[in-house]
Amino acid sequence: MLLVTHERQRQIVARCCERAASAGVRPGMPAAQARALFVVGAVRIEPYDPETGRRALRRLAVWGERFSPVVALDEPDGLLLDVTGCERVWAGEQRLLHAATRGLAALGFVARASIAPTFAGAWGVARFGPKDTRLIPQGGERDAIAPLPIAALQVDPETVAQLAEIGIERVGDLLALPRSTMPPRFGPDLLLRLDRALGQAIEIIEPVRPTPPPEAQRVFEGPTSRTDAIGLAVRELIDEIAGALAARSCGARRLEVELARSDLEPHRLAITLARPSRDGKHLWALVRPGLERAHLGFGVEGVRVRAPAVGRIRHEQAECLDAYAGPPPAEIERSSAELLDTLGNRLGLDRVLHASPRASHLPERAFQMRRASDPRSAHEETVPKDRPTVLFDRPAPIDVLALTPDGPVHRVSWRGETREITACLGPERIAGEWWGPSPGGTREYFAVRTDRGEWLWLARSIESRRWFVHGVWA
């Protein structure tokens, strides 16, 4: 994967993946030259969008707050975390370091990380050190940075080139020089960078401040148990939240309403939405049933509404109104999401489902039911074989008569009735999955037609030799 930018009517590589880097691609290289390093079709080239990368890095910084409350961006591709004191939570700095790198790997990132007494030291060791992860103990920063190249001090390339001209290529060489000779020859910045790496100068980072979730509350003059007054207050607070979400170009994915009861603990209502929404009417329609059922005790002193989970709502081009073309796709999508929200919040999210095929030969595992409100989509596109339209959760035992052992089915007795078989298709042998438990074992399936025209899906267990009806073409 190459991300390219345009310079003087040429495509220049701005970023590349790990595999491309190992093949010799470097940022700044012409895209044509980078493409020549791969076979045709093996490289994917996309335009480089710095803003997208910045947003992704910011999201990653928010994710990194699980390791430290102070996380700063080191653009374009780094994060700085102040983990002072956090090692107690993780039972040591080494564990914290491994947890962070494992988490990043799980997200699909290739990461190098280091913990050091100074930010500059950690930066240099992580980017130019010999190992992917390294822990520098207190007082060991001088020894850690000494073998690193000068670029590990974050100095500008011109200074690096000037130092290289006089044979200074490592930080250790620079440490051997008298401090007083550096500023006149290379400027004050070099000495400042060196002092920061050694902990002799202060380095200040600007942490990412996560935006607090939209929240609104109202306190009544006294406890009230009037549901209409409480409902009106909640409705107004929802509209207020919707306004705040509109200002952020966001919608609520989860909304919480808290009723502060005078004599009991606060009563909390929570709704989950399938799609971000800031439609006050829709949000109120979801909240209202729970509010009507709420136990108010001796009265409610105040209400608070907050949206702890929000999602971005993309701006959409308004479509031409066409009375004959039906509602526009955006309107259908919005209505569909509202239907999911209403069903899910009343019946329960586990009772509103989508089905997706799975790559399994076992009929009972050939599909997967998942919550319809789950934003993740199924990726498998398996096309199943001809299967009955109704599959029984538990296969029903059936008595079968075959003229010859292992021969076609001749007659069945099911549900107290005997039926002649006029057609028999099969067998289709389905074995259990060796990599996991398969309760049914190996089975042979037959599609049979009775003299009444019904089609049954019969299964014969190879181990127990018993017959079952597993499904029906109803």
Partner: protein, 262 residues
Amino acid sequence: MQSILGNQPTAPSNPADRILAARTLRARFAPEIHDPRPNELPALAPGLHEWFAGNDPRGNGLPPMSVLIGLAWRVIDADPGRRIVWIGRHCWPYPPALVRRDPADLRLLRCSLFVDPASKGERVWAIELAARCPAVAAVLADGAGLTMPESRRLQLAAGGHGPPILLARPSREQRELSAARTRWRVTPIAHEGEQRRGWEAELRRCKGVWGASPREDARRWAVWRDHATGDTTFEPIHQTSDVDLAAPLADRPHPAPRARLA
């Protein structure tokens, strides 16, 4: 009597004209069965449609799922981009049966939403909610135990412009009162071929059609599900002249005088 009713419209005496007049009336009062396309099913018109599996003697058998899946495919083919909502676990199809195989087509599976209400009240509420949603192309639901007021409520929800609501009802409820627009019975067809599976869908009742009993005016379709492709086709079996008009008004014949016994 004849002279008093002389200005009233009467049915034409010519059979061809009578059929034409019947079709005109049918187009006015029951447009869903007056369709120039011979294969079009009135079950896809907006409104409530009830489906019974007619072969189960105990009356609590499985819903006619193959026919319902075929109807869902027809809805999706005509109106892609909207949802098909299956309400009631008893009415859920086996998901792999929602896939066409040749060519591979997973549209119905992708747009299907499976809802599992815990009670009958929640089931009726969910059907009504889905019927009023503009993003829903069809609602296929378990209609067991539905009362007349509930069916009327659903019929009103579907209205004249809503999606079709296809209710799968147990055959023991065939005599229950209902406000459904059409009522169907499905029985398997015992045929010879093995490459496809067949059912007969019989239109037992169609509201708005008067002057003829459902039994005499039955319309039947053969529903074939192809073994290889998973595709479902509907073929009309019997196209009658359908709705006939009442006979021309006339005086009743005078009854024969009773013989006096005493």
